[in-house]
Point group: D2
Chain length 344, copies 4
């Protein structure tokens, strides 16, 4: 049994890790921490866990000491020190924050405003999007778990980009996210009456996940890729739908596209490439680790439209983190994650 | 491994059985049927199950032949014949419909308009609300699984009624149900724009679950109990909150009430009696088999207010049916049902 | 043209007053104030008003000076001083807060913890529920506008109580309110993901609107009435449904009840007594000043069930305040309030 | 007073016309018809209108006879005959359906499958998007009221297209619509539990509004424009957000774009060009005839992102139809349409 710890357990991503790990057959939550709720039981914060996990929040240091693997769900800038402590004590570290996601410190500075405090540690870190970079993850101990937008959109585009089916300029990603993506912290924009029955874009073409998406697509294509990324805030709890647009290269056929996607994802349990005629819907992947993808061609304009749906808290956060844990600990990759999405 | 079959698998209760059984460690879905979708895969009806359960709908007869236990999720009036077929072939039968719930054929005629076709079979049947009538269920093969309203409200009132803490006249049950309780069938009232941002009562003091609630409370008290039951339709997918009002008998104290509930439910895994200060909320039991209960006393008016929250599709339908299956097959009662409700 | 001012214009009730007064043919918003947003335009706070009302928030004192009538939408305890200032300057004052609602200072102290600073002023104040106390309102200049719960539930019960059709003990009011009732202030309970797909009771039998409801029912009956009042928080923006239960006196018939309600409300434009077979639904009164009432009899248990639906921000706050303004300024009572509720 | 009639009054667009016309100072609903509900009062279909409009549905012929202007809210293919009848009797005809929207019969055949029965009549018809084609509308008697998607997206792109600021190839329109856009008719996809907490695209790059959008942009630019149009179905009642992407021509600056939009819409009451920093949100235009537009530039990729928000039932249907009526009858264009959107 793997002893798992969660630093920042009372945020949404942290609490979702608690939930998923409670059902994991080969790992258990051994310790949790929270700055805001130290000394309190997590079930006081989330009454859904009453009687099921009444574990009390300790300090981050206690979590590191007691566990084999530490998940961190912290605001950016706070993970580097913790990663170092884990590294020194030989604990695996899986970061749900942004501190280790970008290879380029320059990009990190530009978008997040911080610096890389320990460059050696950053070199040890690996970007944990298993479907695209599984080989790199195996054997590593510091994992940068991707962000929510940066999981679904790249998965929708990866086969097209990796196989040179679309132009690398002019890619547009129009994403719509459920509210949990904004976290547990209060804000006017997530106050129920202000959000309900509403929909708006935010951080248009300036969201911090942009360079992360571009990094992934650049790796896959071998060329520097820029994308226009526009996120929207949806009045639903969970789920991100990313509608991704790319210009098909001349003479690329619908059949070629479909074949490329089928080949690319044929061994991927968590990617469900939908048959023609079905549309990816966040309704169908809620509370699961699946990424549904539907493919559409606009033959009139020569565009590929690839649409992905993920649960931002599972495949976009806690589920993928556990998938990474499974990978680096040599477990079945889907262990604890064979979650059937509810039909409603 | 128990071979389970579902007749009426494409309705909401049937499809929820599919979902839960897919994760059951000791049972598997062996066959499913549907009149409307015979020959079609259930994943065509519920794309959430794509790749996870692409089982094709057969006939009810095929389900009976292939399975050890048959769950029926059918409109009332259609279960009796099926129950008989199961009985004759030695298959266990768990009915999510109403045909076997009422002891009194007279009441059944009055509220449902039908008759008991095979009285012997009805005598073999038992009402499957394990927390209240577990002993009666063990060893039985024909189980009448309770309705959704008829699970949560009686659980909220049972300790008070069984211990004589409240008057047996004047009980009021004000229930609020999520929309899945109305089923998959289309109606103007469940058309999204007509229901969204709305709330109304329906079948006021005339809902068919009334005699079933009364039957349970009468058994517990040993006296004929009548209740005023008013259901409301909520714009949420899942969950029933039942706010139950009873007049406290003279000199009954808050401490006595609490003690009675604690004793009554101390060994019940699926009932979570909330500490004082917490309010039962359907938010906290979604997708789980738990029934949360909070207790409140109006000392100014001398009323007990007991509030229960259940997921109508799980504890109010499919989950409880599996709980009954576990019981009659000698499994751990919570096998496959240790579902942690998501915190959001 | 009446010059209307709003103190506390950036709260929900205040901003709804702005919206309604913008369409009033005989009144106009002349000045608004807000402690939190002084110097800012209300359209910065509520972008819905962009270009339509870009009026800048001033101080409360400025509002009093510039206007004929001052609406106050403030936390309790803050209205008394303002009322005095209005009284001294001869301005009409309509208070959407609780400071002048209760006749009994003792009750006010018990439920709100404050005292009556100026008893003479309190004697000048009148409770502004026009359908029940219109005669008292005419000619007055200090109006206590009722709370949201305290409008819908009393209107549902008034004809029965006033005509002695139900027992005065044992009345139960089970109310369900949309989230705007909790105001614009942030709280975890109104954070979108924590509330969405949820439902729970709160302040069970201890909500501050209890004595106000009791005061109204006591006036109507001439006897001290106590009620059990349980409010619930609904995941919708607007609307309160109050399901009110009372024990019918012996031999009272359904026809008598209906007749009493028809007579009581025959001249009331804003009360829509629904025909038998229809159920009051908050869906049907949104954004309007109507109170829909449906009547139901549980003949098995001898209970009257009267259900009312109002928009908590209109008939439960800003609309009723304007109705009071119309009354005391001698306008048509429905002036500016003939709002057709949208069908969806 | 203009006598207005509505054919197809019990559909969503028809019933919204009823609501808006009830508050129109210079027009009144004189007759309504409905095939499904002939002989029934509209308030039986929409209880929101109880007591306010209990008008009974007659036949289409009766509506034509009694009214000065006939609004038709019918499935496509059914308006042509009605238009002819109106034309012959000298009644103005405003069609909320698609039959008269496309200039090209070829396109109509391709996308709708029908033919133009009376070419002369089609030549008399004019496309009623006042902000773009006001001059053409004045003096006409057969108005093709635009579709919902075809109002918001063109308004977002018009100034850029008309002024040659963006390339005419590669335009992408990603729209998200509330459910009322799908109408009152029942379907599995609009059944509450199947839609709630979901989001998906539909008719990807194949929606019938595509040629209509292209026709408008082609008129504005003087060149044939093709667009990739992807609509999505949102779990909200009302509102369409259209996120429109176009490649800026070389050297076009942000300031130029803003200036072009300000000039283009400076006299348009119903278009609210939002200041930089604000994002168009369907939350802020609900129940109003406004079209909010926010402008964003992705300087990294050279894209203009123009986002519009409209209420699909008002500016996208009934409100715009009344705006057209006002125009052709010589009334103030905003008469009856100065609706303040609620802040929540």
């Amino acid at each position: 049994m793997i002893h798992a710890g969660i630093v920042g357990a009372t945020g949404y991503a942290g609490s979702e890790l608690v939930r998923l790990l409670l059902s994991h057959p080969e790992a258990e939550v051994t310790a949790i921490s929270s700055v805001s709720f130290e000394g309190k039981a997590i079930s006081e914060v989330y009454p859904a866990y009453f009687n099921l996990c009444d574990m009390v929040c300790e300090t981050a240091g206690q979590v590191v000491d007691k566990c084999d693997v530490v998940f961190a769900a912290l605001p950016h800038g706070l993970s580097q020190e913790l990663a170092k402590a884990c590294d020194e004590k030989g604990k695996a570290f899986i970061d749900l924050g942004a501190d280790f996601r970008l290879d380029s410190e320059e990009e990190y500075q530009k978008w997040y405003g911080g610096t890389y405090q320990d460059k050696e540690l950053h070199e040890k870190a690996v970007y944990g999007l298993p479907e695209l970079f599984r080989k790199d993850i195996l054997g590593k101990r510091v994992i940068a778990n991707p962000g929510c937008y940066t999981t679904g959109a790249p998965l929708a585009l990866a086969p097209a980009v990796a196989n040179g089916l679309i132009e690398l300029t002019g890619i547009i990603i129009d994403s719509k996210s459920g509210v949990t993506g904004a976290g547990r912290g209060l804000s006017q924009g997530t106050h129920y009456p202000d959000l309900n029955e509403g929909l708006h874009a935010y951080k248009v073409a300036s969201h911090r996940h942009t360079p992360e998406i571009e990094q992934t697509l650049s790796r896959l294509s071998g060329q520097k890729v820029h994308v226009t990324f526009v996120p929207h805030l949806l009045p639903v709890n969970r789920g991100i739908l990313s509608t991704c647009y790319g210009r098909l290269k001349p003479d690329v056929t619908k059949a070629q596209v479909r074949k490329a996607y089928e080949d690319f994802y044929q061994d991927e349990y968590f990617v469900r490439l939908l048959p023609d005629g079905m549309n990816a819907d966040i309704h169908n992947i809620k509370y699961s680790n699946f990424c549904d993808i539907s493919l559409h061609i606009d033959t009139r304009c020569g565009n590929l439209i690839a649409i992905s749906a993920i649960d931002n808290m599972v495949k976009g956060a806690a589920g993928q983190a556990i998938q990474n844990m499974n990978l680096i600990f040599g477990l079945e990759e889907a262990s604890g994650l064979a979650l059937v999405p509810p039909a409603f």
